[in-house]
């Protein structure tokens, strides 16, 4: 209940002053991103769609009517429409859309959103390895050169980062 009230206060503040939309953005960025990334697979498409969702939400915040449903649900409805439009625009060339049965469950979206958030809190060296490996798609050798460490040390950092994330996810769910 408290969360819903906070949600409502943030929405009303953003409706009075669009500069306050930043608070809603920070609160929901990973959720929206996790949703679009789950549905379109390609990182750049997920980023474009996430941007589209927040721009549309900002433009339409004045029209948002409070009906007791979390603001995030409204954002995810915009996201669902944006993803559907994406598939319509790009057709089969962009790959096959997920069927409804494959669509991510809300718990999975929340779990992935939390994971992405936790990555940002990793110690710097672990974050760098994860970013280079999974976003920049660099090989262990390339990362080792960039960080001036041995390949073995980079692999250990990679393991520690992922174990670290797993431990934090487990303690968050405990």
């Amino acid at each position: 209940m408290r969360a819903i009230q906070d949600d409502r206060a943030l929405v009303e503040a953003a409706q009075r002053d669009p500069a306050r939309f930043a608070d809603l953005y920070e609160q929901n960025f990973y959720r929206v991103y996790a949703y679009t990334a789950r549905r379109v697979q390609d990182r750049h498409d997920a980023e474009d769609l996430t941007a589209e969702v927040f721009r549309e939400a900002l433009a339409g915040i004045g029209k948002f009517e409070w009906r007791g449903v979390p603001f995030a649900a409204w954002l995810l409805r915009i996201a669902a429409r944006a993803v559907a439009d994406h598939w319509t625009r790009n057709g089969r060339e962009a790959g096959a859309p997920l069927s409804d049965s494959e669509e991510a469950a809300p718990e999975e979206i929340e779990r992935n959103a939390m994971l992405l958030q936790l990555v940002n809190r990793l110690p710097e060296a672990q974050f760098r390895v994860i970013h280079m490996r999974f976003v920049e798609q660099k090989s262990i050798r390339e990362i080792a050169q960039a960080m001036q460490r041995s390949e073995g040390a980079v692999k250990q950092l990679q393991l520690r980062a992922i174990e670290n994330l797993r431990a934090q996810m487990e303690s968050a769910h405990a």
């Binding site: 002053d17 669009p18 500069a19 930043a22 980023e47 433009a59 490996r133 692999k155 174990e163 797993r166």
Partner: protein
């Protein structure tokens, strides 16, 4: 038996290559599966600065939507523009007489005697607000005034007691310009554009002209506080800003850098949401003079910017 970090790395290699999972023994699988699930989710993480780039983009859009709302809801008082210069002098009647005589100013409003001294005058399509003050509390500045015949206006200004600061001359920047100083010390750059010179967007008959010590810092403040849009910046060879202009809503403020800043203009802004713009100005580095409050004429607040210029903010009462 390979180390765990080696086993995990091989599995990640296969994952990133889109190959089938590498088979391990039962014990490794039990340990690796949850780690690989995390690794799989990480393959879709956003680029490092995507979140902050999008935040900046949304902030820009949010500030533009504020100005858009202001224009759409006609939150500016009839006959006024977004920015109205205000001047505080110890002998306001003398100044008003000069403006009427030299610039054909028309007095459009005067507050009742028991409400303090507040007079509004119109010069061409622009408004000025004039207050009185005790000696030492003046708000004086510089103004760029466009008039149909500035040679005549220059003569009339001297007749009304102004001091000549440069007789009208044709200038290389597309206008004939002279300057006078009134008794209180306000500087009036009076000009007539050449027929071939087009007025920039938002240019009114009177534009406040400020002389801050650092024009770029002033522009930066106006941009962050009031969603100002830089229109032009002309620098000399030493990088000193000789002339610049910034637009706020439908008004333009001009400036030229002066290392020894002596003037302290005042501005009155009509905005759609006084409280929101007040907060934004403080976030941009302004100090509060008057917190937002309800007044008979609307919701009003005042701030002082880092150069000592005062800005009154006012949103009209809902109709």
């Amino acid at each position: 038996m390979p180390e765990r970090f080696e086993i995990l790395d091989q599995a990640i290699d296969a994952l990133l290559a889109g190959a089938p999972p590498v088979g391990f023994n039962a014990q490794s699988d039990a340990e690796l599966t949850p780690l690989l699930q995390i690794a799989s989710a990480l393959t879709r993480m956003p680029e490092e600065h995507f979140q902050s780039r999008l935040r900046d983009d949304l902030e820009r859009r949010a500030s533009m939507s504020n100005i858009g709302t202001a224009a759409a809801t006609k939150s500016i008082r009839e006959g006024f523009h977004t920015v109205t210069p205000f001047i505080a002098v110890s002998e306001p009647e003398k100044l008003i007489a000069l403006l009427k005589h030299a610039f054909n100013a028309e007095e459009t409003g005067r507050s009742p005697k028991d409400h303090g001294f507040h007079v509004e005058v119109r010069v061409g399509d622009s408004m000025l607000m004039i207050h009185d003050c005790a000696p030492g509390g003046e708000k004086i500045g510089a103004f760029h005034v466009y008039l149909p015949d500035i040679d005549a206006a220059y003569t009339r200004a001297l007749e009304a007691g102004a001091t000549g600061m440069g007789a009208p001359e044709d200038r290389p920047y597309g206008e004939r310009q002279g300057a006078v100083k009134d008794l209180a010390g306000n500087l009036w750059y009076i000009a007539t554009r050449f027929p071939s010179t087009e007025a920039p967007e938002g240019a009114g008959s009177v534009m406040p002209y400020v002389h801050p010590a650092k024009a770029r810092i002033f522009i930066d403040f106006v941009t962050r506080a009031f969603d100002g849009k830089e229109m032009a910046v002309y620098e000399d060879t030493q990088g000193r800003v000789m002339h610049a202009a910034v637009r706020i809503g439908d008004s333009v403020i001009e400036m030229g850098e002066a290392p020894n800043q002596t003037q302290s203009n005042g501005f009155f802004l009509y905005v759609d949401d006084c409280d929101a713009w007040y907060r934004r100005a403080l976030a941009a580095g302004a100090t509060s003079l008057i917190e937002p409050g309800d007044q008979p004429y609307g919701r009003a607040a005042a701030i002082r910017d880092p150069f000592g210029y005062q800005w009154g903010l006012c949103s009209l009462p809902a109709r």
